[in-house]
C-alpha cells in the first residue's frame, strides 16, 4: 500500500473520530455548560474579587481622647475609604477581642492625650492594629495609614506650634508596643503607626495554610463521595445494590463514613506539614478545630451526595463539583480578602461553608480563639449541612430510570 493511501486512510479515521467527539460534545449539555460557564465564572469573579486595593476594611475605633479633634481624625480616616467604621469600643481589650473574632480587620486606637500632645507640639500617634493573618489586608491598611499620615501632616499644620520642629528627634528603633509614646516628636505632628497583629512577619504561608485545610476538604470530600456513588452507577454495581434490602440512608451513610475519617486525617496532615515546613503556628486548641472540622466535613460529604444524584458519569460529577469549588476558592476569603470583595460577592461568600470554616481555622490556629467565640460560624456550616442533607435524602433514590 502506498504511503499516500495510508495517510489518506489515517486522515479519514481521524476526521471520523473528531466528528464523533464533536457530536458527543454538542449533545452533552453539561460539558457545554462547563466549557462556557467556568470561563465566565472565572472572568466575573476574578474581575471583581481580585481587588488589590483593599477598601472598606471593617474597623473598630477606640477613641480614648473623645475630643473634637479626635472625632475629626476619625472622620478623616473614614474619608479615605480604606476603612469602614463598623463599631466603636471602650477599651483596647474589647477591640482586640473583635479583631480575634474577625468582626473587624483593624482597630484604630486614639490616645487619651491626643489634643494635649498635639498642642504642645510633641506629636501624637494613632495606632492601627491590623489583622495581619491576611497580609494583603495588613498591607492595605499600612498603605492607607501612611497616606493618611501624610495628608494629616499637611492639614494639621495650623495646630502645630512653632517649637515643634526644634524638638525633632528620631523614632526609637525596634518598638514593640503601640499607643502613645512619650518621646515621639517629629516633623509630622500625627504619626499613624500600623501594628501587624497575629502574623507580625506577614508571612503568606501563615495565612494560606489554615485556609488550605478548608479548601482541600472542600475539594476532596465533595468529589470523593460524589464519585463513589456515581462509580456504582457507571459500573452497574448500583443495580445489584438497590435490589438488596439495603436502605438508601444506609447506602448514604455507609458511603460517607470512610470519608469522615479521611477528612480528619487530611486536616492533621495539612497542619503537620504546615507546622514543619512553614512554621505555621497552632495557637488555639486542636480540639476546637476538630469540632469545626466535624461539622464542616459532613457538610461537604452530603453536598457530594447531592451532586451524585443528577450525575450519570464520573466525569459529570467532577464537572458539577467544579461549579461549587470555584466560587468556594475565590469568594470565601481564601485567595482574596473577604472585606475587599463587593457586597454581592460577600453575600455569596457568606453562603459558602468554606468562608465560615476559614474563619474558624484561622481564628483557632492563628489567633488562639476558642470555638466558643466562633459559634456563629459553626452554626452557618451546620445550617448548610442540614440543607444539603435534606436535599440528598430527597434526591438519592433506590430506583433506576
Amino acid at each position: 500500500m502506498s504511503l499516500l493511501a495510508r495517510l489518506q486512510g489515517s486522515l479519514r479515521r481521524v476526521v471520523a473520530m473528531a466528528r464523533k467527539e464533536w457530536i458527543q460534545l454538542l449533545r452533552d449539555r453539561l460539558s457545554l455548560a462547563f466549557i462556557v460557564g467556568i470561563p465566565s465564572l472565572q472572568l466575573v469573579m476574578f474581575g471583581y474579587a481580585i481587588n488589590l486595593d483593599v477598601r472598606h476594611v471593617p474597623a473598630a475605633v477606640v477613641d480614648q481622647a473623645g475630643s473634637a479633634l479626635s472625632r475629626r481624625l476619625v472622620a478623616e480616616l473614614e474619608a479615605t475609604h480604606a476603612f469602614r467604621l463598623k463599631t466603636s469600643a471602650h477599651s483596647e481589650a474589647e477591640a482586640i477581642r473583635m479583631l480575634e473574632r474577625s468582626e473587624v480587620g483593624v482597630v484604630v486606637v486614639i490616645p487619651p492625650d491626643l489634643d494635649r500632645r498635639l498642642h504642645r507640639g510633641r506629636g501624637a500617634e494613632i495606632s492601627l492594629l491590623a489583622d495581619a493573618t491576611n497580609p494583603t489586608v495588613e498591607a492595605a491598611v499600612a498603605a492607607a495609614g501612611a497616606g493618611l499620615g501624610h495628608v494629616l501632616a499637611l492639614r494639621m499644620q495650623p495646630f502645630v506650634t512653632g517649637e515643634a520642629s526644634a524638638a525633632l528627634r528620631a523614632v526609637p528603633e525596634g518598638r514593640t508596643g503601640f499607643g502613645p509614646e512619650g518621646e515621639l516628636v517629629r516633623a509630622a505632628p500625627i504619626r499613624i503607626a500600623v501594628v501587624p497583629f497575629y502574623n507580625p512577619e506577614r508571612r503568606t504561608p501563615v495565612f494560606i495554610v489554615p485556609g488550605l485545610v478548608g479548601v482541600i476538604l472542600t475539594m476532596t470530600m465533595m468529589l470523593m463521595t460524589a464519585l463513589a456513588v456515581v462509580r456504582e452507577r457507571e459500573r452497574g454495581t448500583f443495580e445489584f445494590l438497590i435490589a438488596t434490602p439495603v436502605r438508601r440512608t444506609e447506602v448514604m451513610i455507609g458511603k460517607v463514613l470512610p470519608y469522615l475519617v479521611v477528612g480528619h486525617v487530611q486536616v492533621a496532615l495539612v497542619l503537620a506539614l504546615g507546622a514543619f515546613l512553614f512554621d505555621v503556628p497552632i495557637r488555639g486548641s486542636l480540639l476546637d478545630l476538630a469540632v469545626g472540622a466535624a461539622v464542616f466535613i459532613p457538610a461537604m460529604l452530603t453536598l457530594g451526595l447531592v451532586i451524585s444524584s443528577p450525575a450519570r458519569t464520573q466525569f459529570q460529577a467532577v464537572q458539577m463539583a467544579f461549579f461549587f469549588f470555584l466560587p468556594s476558592m475565590l469568594l470565601s476569603g481564601f485567595m482574596f480578602p473577604f472585606e475587599a470583595m463587593p457586597v454581592p460577592a460577600q453575600w455569596i461568600g457568606e453562603v459558602l461553608p468554606l468562608t465560615h470554616f476559614l474563619r474558624i481555622a484561622r481564628g483557632v490556629l492563628l489567633k488562639g480563639a476558642s470555638i466558643g467565640s466562633l459559634l456563629g460560624e459553626l452554626a452557618a456550616i451546620g445550617a448548610f449541612a442540614l440543607v444539603t442533607l435534606a436535599l440528598a435524602v430527597r434526591t438519592f433514590t433506590k430506583r433506576i430510570g
Partner: protein
C-alpha cells in the same frame, strides 16, 4: 411443579413507557412456584425492563404486579430479602476479592455471622470458586465472574431468583454447568425467572414467555410452543443448496428458510397446505428449475422456528391481543 402451584409472580397489564416508547406493553404473566420460567425475545423487546419492574427497581407506568405475595412497587423493600438478582452486566465490585464480595452480599442481606460464614463457604464450594476466594473479582475470566455473580445472588437462599441474560458471552461448558446449578436450585424449591438469547437454554425452561416489542407474544412450555408449528416444517436436501434457497424463497407457501449445513429448514406460511403436500410442491418447483436429486420431507419445529414466526408477527398464544 403443577398447574395448581401458587403463583410466585402475577402481573396484569404491566406497562412501562420511556418517553413515547412502550418498553413493556400490557404484559400479563403468572409464574408458578419452583419452575424455571424463561423470557425470550430479541434485544429491546422489554425483558430487562420487565424484570426491573418485578424487582421494584422501575416504577410501572400502568398495571400491577404481585411478587411472592407482595404488591410491587409498593412493598418492594419487603420483597427484597427473598429475592436474588443477577444483572445483565457483571455488577459486583471488581476491587474486592471473591470472598469479600460474597461476604458483602451476605451482610447486606442481613445474614448473621455464623450463617454468613457457612453460606459463603457453601456457595464457594458449590460454584467451584474455592480456589479463587482470594482473587480480585476484576481478575476473573467471564465464566468465573458469572459463577461469582450467581453465588452472590443465592448466598441468602432466596425464594425467587431473577437472572437477566446470565450466560451472555459465556462458553458452552460453563453454560451447561450453570444450568445444572439452576435445576438444582429449582429442585430445592426456588423459582427462577431467567432471560436468554440462547435457544438451547430456552428449551430447558419449564415454561417460556416470548416477548416482541414489549408485548407478550407467546407463553407455554417449549413443547407447546413448537407444537403450534406442527405440520409447518419441511426439510429440503439438495446440491447447490444456496441457489436452491434463493429459488425456494420465492415460493408463496414459504415463510422463512434456515440453512442448516446442507439442509434447508423451511417454515411454511400459516394457513397453507399440510407439510407432506407442501414438501411435494417444493420438490417439484426445484426440479422444474433443473435441480437434480431433490429430497424433501416434513420436519419437526424447533424453538428457533417459533422465534422466527413471532418475529414475522404471527401470534401463537391462542389469545387475541387485548385479552387479559
Amino acid at each position: 411443579m403443577s398447574a395448581s402451584a401458587p403463583a410466585v409472580i402475577e402481573t396484569s397489564g404491566l406497562t412501562r413507557r420511556f418517553g413515547d416508547q412502550l418498553a413493556v406493553d400490557h404484559v400479563d404473566l403468572a409464574v408458578r412456584r419452583g419452575e424455571i420460567f424463561g423470557c425470550l425475545g430479541p434485544n429491546g423487546s422489554g425483558k430487562s425492563t420487565l424484570m426491573r419492574m418485578l424487582l421494584g427497581l422501575l416504577e410501572p407506568t400502568e398495571g400491577s404486579a404481585r411478587v411472592l405475595g407482595f404488591e410491587i412497587p409498593r412493598d418492594a423493600e419487603r420483597l427484597r430479602p427473598a429475592v436474588g438478582y443477577m444483572t445483565q452486566r457483571f455488577s459486583l465490585y471488581e476491587e474486592l476479592t471473591v470472598a469479600e464480595n460474597l461476604h458483602f452480599a451476605a451482610q447486606i442481606f442481613g445474614l448473621a455471622r455464623r450463617r454468613r460464614h457457612a453460606r459463603v463457604d457453601a456457595v464457594l464450594s458449590e460454584s467451584g470458586l474455592d480456589r479463587y476466594r482470594a482473587v480480585r473479582a476484576g481478575a476473573l475470566s467471564g465464566g468465573f465472574k458469572q459463577r461469582l455473580a450467581l453465588a452472590a445472588a443465592i448466598v441468602h437462599e432466596p425464594r425467587l431468583l431473577v437472572l437477566d441474560e446470565p450466560t451472555a458471552g459465556v462458553d458452552p461448558q460453563s453454560r451447561r454447568e450453570f444450568w445444572e446449578r439452576l435445576f438444582r436450585l429449582a429442585a430445592g424449591g426456588a423459582t427462577i425467572l431467567v432471560s436468554t438469547h440462547y435457544m438451547d437454554e430456552a428449551v430447558r425452561c419449564h415454561r417460556l414467555c416470548m416477548l416482541r416489542d414489549g408485548r407478550r407474544a407467546a407463553v407455554g412450555t417449549p413443547a407447546e410452543l413448537t407444537g403450534a408449528l406442527a405440520g409447518r416444517i419441511v426439510e429440503v436436501r439438495v446440491e447447490r443448496i444456496d441457489e436452491a434457497i434463493a429459488v425456494l424463497a420465492t415460493a408463496p407457501e414459504v415463510a422463512s428458510i434456515t440453512q442448516l449445513g446442507a439442509t434447508a429448514h423451511v417454515l411454511l406460511a400459516p394457513g397453507g397446505a399440510p407439510a407432506p403436500e407442501a414438501a411435494l410442491a417444493l420438490r417439484r418447483r426445484l426440479e422444474a428449475q433443473g435441480f437434480p436429486a431433490v429430497t424433501t420431507a416434513p420436519g419437526t419445529a424447533a424453538l428457533e422456528d417459533v422465534f422466527v414466526a413471532l418475529l414475522r408477527g404471527e401470534r401463537l398464544d391462542g389469545r387475541r391481543e387485548g385479552d387479559s
